[in-house]
């Protein structure tokens, strides 16, 4: 096994990856706001819970991604699992579905 497999991440890699998490989550939150504004003309009040749900997923991914590398030296990789990728995936899928819904319903 590589020495890097059991080591705590160090150097620029964790920082670069954490920044990538943060900018993707922030872009998702911004996109959710724009889509909520646009789709509210068609979806009405339904756009609000859809927006809040999407925003919640994006916020969860932001914080999970931010603290993904604050680990104890004994377990350097334990917190780095699939939860943060999954919630961010949900945020983006929810965003696309909201806009699709606004597009296909009559009058959209």
């Amino acid at each position: 096994m590589s020495e890097f497999a059991t080591a705590s991440p160090h150097g620029a890699q964790p920082e670069r990856t954490a920044l990538s998490w943060q900018r993707t989550a922030l872009a998702s939150a911004t996109g959710a706001a724009v889509i909520a504004r646009h789709s509210s003309e068609t979806l009405g009040v339904l756009a609000l819970p859809l927006f809040l749900g999407t925003l919640g997923f994006a916020a969860a991914a932001f914080f999970l991604g931010r603290h993904r590398y604050d680990l104890s030296p004994a377990e350097p990789a334990r917190r780095r699992d699939g939860r943060a990728p999954f919630v961010l995936t949900l945020a983006v899928v929810a965003m696309a579905l909201t806009e699709l819904l606004a597009l296909v319903i009559p009058g959209g």
């Binding site: 096994m1 590589s2 890097f4 497999a5 059991t6 080591a7 991440p9 890699q13 964790p14 670069r16 990856t17 990538s20 998490w21 900018r23 993707t24 872009a27 998702s28 996109g31 724009v34 889509i35 646009h38 350097p76 990789a77 334990r78 780095r80 699992d81 699939g82 939860r83 990728p85 999954f86 961010l88 995936t89 983006v92 899928v93 965003m95 696309a96 579905l97 806009e99 699709l100 597009l103 296909v104």
Partner: protein, 121 residues
């Protein structure tokens, strides 16, 4: 091997890979999500901006782009998980499969339709 890391089908076997590769896998996944955000933005733009195309065509193109906005992140997550598992098992990385072809075909189709509409009086 039992694990509290999720999903278990990724983390229940194999050994922890070199963290540099694991982080690169995460960044690739995040790049796919940002690509998806661009596709969704394009889908909204085609629907909102008057590009001079018939409304039905604009809605069709927008639906195609937004459909990719649903499929691409789900596929990106599966690709990330399969790559992580492959690295743990020290086996070959999975390919992108048909997604890259579908993505390219749809984007080219949308661009072609818009280009034709722009040049044909």
């Amino acid at each position: 091997m039992s694990t509290d890391r999720w999903p278990a089908w990724v983390y229940a076997e194999g050994e922890e890979p070199d963290y540099r590769f694991s982080l690169a896998n995460e960044r690739t996944f995040l790049a796919w999500l940002r690509t998806t955000l661009a596709l969704i933005a394009a889908g909204v733009a085609v629907n909102v901006i008057d590009l001079g195309v018939p409304e039905g065509v604009a809605r069709g193109l927008s639906t195609l782009l937004l459909g990719l906005g649903v499929i691409t992140p789900a596929t990106a997550f599966v690709r990330w998980a399969r790559a992580e598992r492959a690295m743990r098992r020290e086996t070959e990385l999975p390919s992108m499969g048909a997604l890259a072809v579908v993505l390219t075909a749809v984007v080219l189709l949308v661009a072609t339709v818009l280009a034709v509409v722009a040049v044909v009086p």
